[in-house]
């Protein structure tokens, strides 16, 4: 462990923000040999844009050919498949289908397939209406045509990012939470003022997601883009509904959004979303009844049998969109500063690729350590419904959350392990406790007792 109290020994790299991009960045630079510190404003990692998404591992088939986004998605996708077994990360090999529901959309299919091929996703192929309905018999017969993207997959949006940062930590990086970066000056090294005092680093990487422009403003004194948050709401259906459909069901995209998607989650549910709503607030991920009803109806329109299933939960996430289409990644080499901004709607897929790209941009810079040839792989959170879970192995101490079958052993492992969650939100993302159909009806009581003194805010208080 590096000694951080030594003010004379600056970190090689300070990463601002522990969203999925910051987590992947921390892993990459730690493996590259850098002494890394990650500074995160929130009490938990993944508290910004990365809190809520569709969890699709995109191939990038529909990204603008030749864009940085397309390249990072392709690289990120490849690296995820490469490292996922060593990190114990799940993959739901479901494939996707892009479907046209009216004549206008049908006309676009050929062009989209050609674009996919241009992007190197060669297994994308047109399918007739009959073929689509044979492959996914529960789909509404109103479908007119489409194409398959066999290698679009679904992953665990939290366990993956957690695994990246946990691997960074296990190999020497440091994470400071509740540590908002307030200002900074560069004088051969950076001196960052944070909510927890000064931090010195030779380089800064801005991975502040929804606050990317704010951080540039605070540290560089200017911004090259402005974040325009775009909210996406989702409706999640009960687990038995996941039998209804195998592939991710995508619509023909429009200019601003990929449209409303039906997808299975790695946790065994089926979800419909997201919406695309521009807003000012960078924090307000409210849901509203109207939008949720519309999503449910849209889902039922495409997959009529959904009408028979209960809703398990709803959620919303904020995309860090900008006025530009592409990612905003800029190396301010002379100031030891790299901006990684505007990673709006593909960051989960691209994170590992973005980290590689930034590492290449930075190739000339020397770090205090040597690259780590065989990095330590910490134990992952095993939350996938399609893979063995903790409750299936003996001596788990009892099931606390009955809907998601979360065990006492799992909860204690998270609370006692590295990067222990300090909020209920964080604990949920690490274990899925309270995330099931009862939304806490059964487990809140026992959980309040089990987590007593360990979460802030606490679930409850006692008298006296």
């Amino acid at each position: 462990m590096p000694d951080t109290s030594d003010a004379n020994e600056p970190f090689d790299v300070a990463i601002i923000g522990a969203g999925v991009v910051g987590c992947a960045m921390a892993r990459r630079f730690t493996i590259d040999g850098a002494r890394v510190v990650v500074l995160e404003k929130a009490a938990e990692v993944l508290d910004g844009a990365s809190k809520a998404n569709s969890a699709i591992l995109h191939t990038g088939f529909d990204a603008p050919p030749g864009s940085l986004e397309q390249k990072c998605i392709a690289d990120g996708y490849a690296e995820y498949l490469e490292i996922r077994e060593s990190l114990g990360l799940p993959l739901l090999k479901c494939g996707a289908m892009v479907l046209a529901w009216d004549d206008e959309q049908v006309v676009q299919l050929d062009g989209l397939v050609a674009k996919a091929h241009k992007n190197g996703v060669m297994d994308v192929a047109l399918r007739s209406r009959a073929e689509i309905l044979t492959q996914e018999p529960q789909l509404s017969s109103a479908v007119m045509g489409g194409f398959v993207v066999p290698s679009e997959y679904v992953i665990d949006p939290w366990a993956s990012a957690h695994a990246y940062i946990l691997q960074a930590l296990a190999n020497g990086a440091e994470l400071r939470r509740n540590c908002e970066v307030l200002s900074g000056v560069f004088d051969r090294v950076w001196r960052l003022e944070t909510a927890q005092g000064a931090v010195r680093a030779k380089q800064v990487i801005n991975c502040a997601g929804l606050y990317g422009d704010v951080i540039d403003e605070r540290l560089l004194g200017r911004r090259d883009f402005s974040i325009m948050p775009r909210k996406g709401q989702f409706v999640v259906f009960d687990k038995p509904a996941s039998e209804l459909v195998e592939a991710v069901i995508l619509p023909v995209p429009t200019k601003t959004t990929k449209g409303v998607v039906i997808f299975r989650t790695i946790f065994g549910n089926i979800a419909v979303g997201p919406t695309a709503e521009e807003q000012e607030s960078r924090t307000d991920a409210s849901t509203d009844a109207e939008a949720l009803k519309a999503l449910r109806d849209k889902g039922i329109e495409m997959l009529p049998a959904l009408a028979d299933y209960e809703v398990t939960t709803v959620y919303a996430g904020l995309r860090p969109a900008t006025e530009f289409q592409d990612y905003q990644i800029t190396n301010h080499a002379e100031q030891g500063y790299i901006t990684v901004g505007g990673i709006r709607s593909t960051g989960l897929s691209a994170a590992l690729g973005i980290a590689r790209h930034v590492s290449r941009l930075n190739a000339g810079v020397e770090f205090s350590g040597a690259p780590i040839a065989t990095p330590i792989c910490p134990a992952p959170d095993r939350l996938s419904n399609y893979h063995p879970r903790d409750w299936e192995s003996p001596d788990h101490g009892g099931i606390i959350c009955h809907c998601e079958l979360v065990t006492k052993r799992e909860i204690l492992a998270a609370l006692d392990g590295p990067m222990a969650p300090t909020t209920l939100q964080g604990l949920k993302r690490r274990t899925r406790v309270c995330m099931g159909r009862c939304q806490g009806f059964y487990c809140t009581g026992p959980l309040a007792t089990l987590t007593e003194g360990r979460l802030d805010p606490a679930l409850g208080e006692r008298d006296g």
Binding site: T287, D288, V311, W391, F441, T444, G445
Partner: protein, 408 residues
Amino acid sequence: MAEQHCNIAIVGGGTAGLALATELRRLGVSGVTVLERELEAGGVPRHCGHYPFGLRELKRVLKGPDYARKLVQNARAAGVDIRCDTTVTALHPQARLSVNTSEGSYELQATRVVLCMGVRESSRAQRFIGGQRPMGVLTTGALQSMVYLNHQRPFRRPVIIGSELVSFSAIMTCRHMGMRPQAILEENDRVTVRQFMRPFPALTGVPIRFNTSNIRILGEKTVEAVAYTDGEGQGHQIAADGVIISGRFRPESALLYASHLEVDQGTGGPSIDQYGRASDPSYFCTGNLLRPVETSSWCWHEAVETAGRIAQDIATPIGGEGHVPLCSADPDIRFVVPQRLVKSNAPNAMTQMQLRLSQPVSGHLTALSDGKTLWGDYMSSRPERRILAPLKPLLKPDLNAPVELRVL
């Protein structure tokens, strides 16, 4: 995987499961096992720290936890094998269960399984209550379990959403630990309880707001306020540090949905015949799993009757090939139990069907099959009231077409 055997495997050790098990033993049935996922049996009454429980079935008035303890004692004394910390994770054809305990998993082969998993309240998400997602949004059940079983207070000034009977339990639970409900928000123009209970909230001093819509929860980390629109379209905000989501019960039927058993969309519970058997006749079902929602006392009696049918089925199989559906053909009728009528002359069949309405209705409740009226009677009722109607007139020997219920 290890395999174990028992005669009657009962899933769920709440009121229904315990009453059923005890009665089976009284009737001389051996090998009765209750599987309960909590660390203690007793079900929902365990965390209802208020009166009145037990009046009719135990001939005394108890608080929920004492009542639950008494039911457990009775079952143990009768020789029931109660296994706690034991979760049933899957239902398989012919009375076979997958079971998980903290020590490990096993398969349990029984001759009959009885499903008694009860009900729970629907969640905030299921009701599409919008707004932010702070901590401190709980169902009454979660609140009761925190307060009575874990002695913790989640908030001090909650708003209660919904005015079914259980919202009064929420008020009493709040008072138990010094929480002060700020208001009850109700979508309808009146309280959703039986007439005689209506003055209750007023007596406790909690204001009720009727005709509320577009309820939104505000607050980033913890609840700060609840916003709603009133009947005139005017927006309001109530400062609060918590929200209690009450009522709108749903059977706890996750296991059913994932199984081979038929589920009824009306009740959200299993589709059963007039003997209480699911679509796989090695499975019986009873208690509040059947439908939302009855009192503990009702579930107790229902379970005792079901025990009689099971004992009977073991001695002389009920049998009954094929079935005709019994269903609502009217949007005003929310559900009917049972949902299947089998042809069998076995004794002990249910004598009445249970119905609930989706809105206040007056008219002729009528059972039709193949265009012919089997039965009818005048009825005037409301959604919160249980409606009972005779089953016998429907069980004609030549019954072949589905029986549909309508209000004419």
